[in-house]
């Protein structure tokens, strides 16, 4: 299937606007068709690469290369067979990329240990994101995809893109603010990967990007240092929840406490998109009960002070239109 100029435009906008804020970089040519190495099984002569992104993994000494298939559709036009076709096609692309000299020559950097993954990006261009999308995805769980053992394919649906786009927009807004919580320039920011018991952050300085796992999780944590006073740092937690119960905030406080973030000169801010109307009162209540629950008389401790200093706010909702043009998903 030949690639179109529409996808090219969308890929350009995506790479410059959305994923660049998560420190993903683009590699190799966009909208390029390369030879299939298994044409008898895949029943195509070439595979397309709309765009290939890469980022460094924090917990392994690997660089992840993402073979992306970008799709844009109107709310009513996505149906299960099309989604299945797109997934199967991407699986074939990933399987081929793993062994294709041409693909690796074009996109993989020499001297790096590459991990190749697939990203199916399904953008809803008429602005009415499809809430049944996840149901469609669940229905496809039983589909057997022909990908090598250990390879992964990630699907970002309209709702995920809406969430990520709002996080991106909020980061840009925070950077441009004149007062209040202000983010420094990108070179002073990185996504936060603590040292874990099972996984060590091996590339603390090099791996700054948000990984696919972080972007698809409920929590995106951005860390920054103040350039004018390097001893001071801050964390912004973009939490993808409603804030309807105190447990959600307790979890976030425990997360911060577990990774020893409650230190002097570390500011913490929690941000939520589409939060419940009760999120703010729940947050306030959780701050009080969390401190009381720590120990008798804990209200006067420095830990209580740090918890009470956590900021909470909602993200103003925006909807970006990358493209007005529908891009077909036919695989005939």
């Amino acid at each position: 299937m030949a690639e179109t100029g529409n996808i090219a435009t969308m890929a350009e906008m995506l790479s410059s606007e959305l994923f660049s804020e998560f420190f993903w970089e683009r590699t190799g040519p966009m909208n390029h068709n390369w030879a299939c190495v298994n044409p008898d099984v895949h029943e195509v002569k070439t595979h397309p690469s709309d765009v290939v992104f890469y980022y460094d993994e924090p917990y392994t000494q690997q660089r992840t290369f993402l073979q992306c298939d970008l799709k844009s559709y109107a709310r009513s036009s996505i149906v299960l067979p099309k989604l299945k076709g797109a997934l199967e096609s991407l699986a074939k692309q990933v399987a081929c990329a793993e062994v294709s000299e041409e693909w690796q020559d074009l996109y993989v950097h020499k001297g790096q240990t590459p991990a190749i993954a697939g990203l199916l990006f399904i953008y809803n261009h008429d602005g009415e994101y499809d809430k049944d999308f996840n149901e469609n995805l669940r229905a496809l769980q039983s589909v057997k995809l022909d990908i090598p053992r250990g390879s992964k394919i990630v699907v970002l649906g309209p709702e995920d893109i809406y969430w990520l786009d709002n996080v991106r927009y909020e980061i840009v807004q925070m950077r441009g603010r004149r007062s209040g919580s202000k983010l420094p320039a990108p070179q002073h920011c990185k996504y936060y990967y603590p040292q874990l018991a099972r996984k060590k952050n091996l590339q603390m300085d090099k791996a700054k990007s948000a990984t696919l796992e972080m972007l698809t999780s409920k929590l995106i944590v951005l860390e920054f240092v103040h350039p004018e006073s390097p001893g001071k740092r801050g964390l912004v937690l973009f939490y993808r929840g409603k804030g309807e119960s105190s447990d959600e905030f307790t979890y976030l406080f425990d997360y911060l406490r577990h990774y020893q973030v409650f230190e002097k000169d570390v500011s913490v801010e929690i941000k939520m998109l589409d939060a419940s109307a009760y999120a703010m009162p729940k947050f306030r209540k959780t701050v009080q009960t969390y401190i009381e629950g720590l120990a008798a008389g804990a209200e006067d401790t420095s830990l209580a002070q740090r918890v009470s200093e956590i900021q909470f706010s909602s993200i103003a909702q925006v909807r970006t239109r990358f493209s007005q043009i529908e891009i077909g998903m036919d695989y005939e």
């Binding site: 062994v99 018991a197 099972r198």
Partner: protein, 204 residues
Amino acid sequence: MRQNSFKLENRSGFLLDRIRDDFLEARYIERFEFQETVSDPFGKEVTFERLEYRQTAFRATATWPGLELIDPSRSVQQLLSELIEASDFSVSLAPLSVDVLKWAEGIQQTFGGMLTISSIQVGGLKLEDSATAKVVIKGDKDVREACQKITGNRPHILEKLQFRIAIGSASATVLLANNATAKIEGGEVEEELLPAIRKAMIGI
């Protein structure tokens, strides 16, 4: 391997899964077609065709140990013959014999802490001139000391050992054998264990 890639009409062939500068991962696939005959309670025979695919995944590296078979079937002779043929008869394959205790200690070094070896199998333990024993030592605690007490200065072969390893909140049971096979039970930590097992093998 590409020249001998598996196609549905072929009886056997390779499927390449992953190619990197220093290793490749592939599967060797064999197709078996045979007839199975079943007798019903009245003695009437029914014959039907059966089709089976046998897959053996492997990883070939440019450096030692060279070839790693993953979940291999009982007979890998055909695969080895085809591999030698694919390399234009320029490689030789030999079975490995390893010291399982050193191998386990190497794995322990990667994760730190103490490794509790819960079972050791000793073979060829010389009791008298013409008598040897095969012994399996098991315990709730580490059995290395108990093994040392039994074997003493007698000639013996450490055939297998088993240990349980906890990595964070997940754990796995690992069985190492002196023919360089490793069996992992507990898929959750396989991703972290496999590189450690490979690294320790190289370090023996």
